[in-house]
Amino acid sequence: MSRSRTNAALERIGLGGITGNPVAFALVLAAMALLLAVPLTHNGYVELVFRNILMYAAMAYGWNLIGGYCGYVSFGQVTFFGLGAYCAGSLAHGGIDNLFAYVAVAMLVSAIFAIVIGLPVLRLRGHYFAIATLGIALAVTDIVANLDALGGTGGLALHQVDEAHFYIYYYAMWLVALGAMLATYFIARSKLGYAFVAIRENEDAAAVLGISATRYKIVAWAIGAMMAGAAGAVFAPANGFIDPSITFSVDSNVFPIAMTILGGIGTVAGPFIGALLLAGANELLQRTFVKAHTLFFGAMIVLIVLLLPRGLVWLFGLRGGARTWLKSLSAFRA
């Protein structure tokens, strides 16, 4: 009963239910199927570009659970990506050379770290939570850069398969992204998803209804951490080298957030659409404007926020064309 009401309310604001617009989701699944064909091009550059898109998509899904569904803006998602990468790096240096082991250990470590750090941090709300997570990201970066066992600022080199088999990394990243997407879909439709949305819309009211907010937030945070950790564990061997500035980069921290917002927060299709467009656009800009590409990237973000404050998925549910769109924009004006 209350589920159908929630869905109806989300439908009214153009989001099309708890998983977002179904047409958008179907399109995204079709796009994922098409992406299976990328290694057939035998073009290393194209494969790298799309592997990065899938990597950012997986991280964006991780962020979407806590930031999109629960409404808790985290600036710490990169921490779990980096942890995952360093799990793979440490295992590689311990003589283990198995992608599955990397991913499994990375997910486990990320989840444990997320739970331990989440217990105090998820008691904070709003901006304070955002800053605490930013603090964690920076502190972990600093600590890793100073640990000799992890190579310090010098980083770690990982053994790679020979170049003819690089597609293994591509398909591993594809699986991680697909896993993150499907996990989001099923979580959103389960009791968990409705609890997350209830927390996002009104945490106090959710608590009154008997939703243990802290417990659900930690679940969202830990599952999101596992997604980012898995992406990091594939990234490390695929890149062949990790150091603190690559794995904990500002880009890896902010891109997934920008992508989710561009696509549509709190939807299943949004993070993938955002990752595809933003990572793709960034790549094109980098090739066209070698020096000034970040300038155009900044301008693009500003335009997205001004023109598409609810994300692209929302356009799928838009009835009435350009006029409704313009009207919806003026609703946000001061």
Binding site: P120, A132, D142, I143, I261, I304, L306
Partner: protein, 297 residues
């Protein structure tokens, strides 16, 4: 013992700058509920304005201080009026992302105008210092501290005594009640954001006296502004001052840590950020309102 005193003095000198760095950021966050990720970029622009006036017209940074305040005030006003107002009632993330995009824009324009080369403002008193017992004090940093204290003092007076200042504080306490009393909230927002940018410009000028300049110099200060705000308490002048000094002192002492466990060498200067951020996390969990903050309902 003299090391301890020197650290304390270094911390206080650095803390004065941090107070001004955080002041504008704290006002915008506390009153408008906007986290301005372009604050670091504003600081950078302020520093470069000072650099340009110094190299072209040989203006002393303390003379160009009002100029960079006015220029950044105007920039902030335009941004608030033409961009932020568009998304004033959108979900909080929108302003986050908007200011992030703006910061990328501003930093990259600066990269084109001034290139990525490191620059500096070298005045007659740069590099000179005096000693007080065992403690060495650089003149430039002392002037900067005095400048910072003056500015926070003026801000505090203006916010408590002037009509606009009172309207600003009223808006931060209760928007509805302020509107009912005849405060034009949109105008107040424009002034607060412009003021935040202007204060960032002032901070940039002060920073240019003792730090090297490059287009991405604002980033570390943005992060420090976060920590100082949380440490001191949001949206208040005293909070920024106390938080700035506290953070400066914590950082100065943290750099002195130097231990070796097994083969792992731990040096405080490498872990400066980590230590300060751990302090931040502890404050957030134990006393989220900050040192000077009052608990809110």
């Amino acid at each position: 013992m003299h090391l301890l005193a020197q650290d304390l003095v270094n911390g206080i000198l650095a803390g004065g700058i941090l107070a001004v760095v955080a002041l504008g950021f704290s006002l915008v966050w506390g009153i408008m509920n906007i986290i301005n990720l372009a604050h670091g970029a504003f600081i950078m622009v302020g520093a470069y304005v000072t650099y340009q006036l110094f190299t072209t017209f040989h203006l002393d940074p303390f003379v160009s201080l009002p100029i960079s305040f006015v220029l950044l005030f105007a920039l902030g006003y335009l941004i608030q009026h033409y961009l932020l107002n568009w998304v004033a009632r959108a979900p909080i993330l929108s302003t986050f992302l908007l200011t992030f995009g703006l910061s990328l824009l501003i930093v990259n324009i600066a990269l084109i105008v001034w290139t990525g080369d490191t620059r500096g403002v070298t005045t007659a008193y740069s590099g000179t210092n005096f000693t007080l017992g065992d403690v060495t004090v650089p003149w430039a940093k002392l002037y900067t501290l005095l400048g910072a204290l003056t500015i926070t003092g003026v801000m505090q007076l203006w916010l408590t005594r002037s009509r606009t200042g009172r309207a600003i504080r009223a808006t931060s306490m209760d928007i509805g009640a302020a509107q009912l009393s005849g405060v034009r909230v949109t105008q107040i927002y424009a002034i607060v954001f412009a003021l935040g940018a202007g204060l960032a410009g002032v901070a940039g000028t002060l920073i240019s006296l003792s730090y090297a300049l490059n287009p991405s110099m604002g980033d570390p200060f943005l992060i420090k502004a976060f920590v100082v705000c949380v440490l001191g308490g949001l949206g208040s002048v005293q909070g920024a001052l106390v938080g700035g000094l506290a953070y400066g002192i914590i950082e100065a002492f943290a750099t002195q840590i130097d231990v070796t466990i097994g083969t792992q060498h731990i040096s405080g200067s490498g872990l400066q950020d980590a230590i300060a951020l751990v302090v931040l996390l502890i404050v957030l969990v134990v006393r989220p309102t900050g040192i000077m903050g009052r608990p809110t309902a």
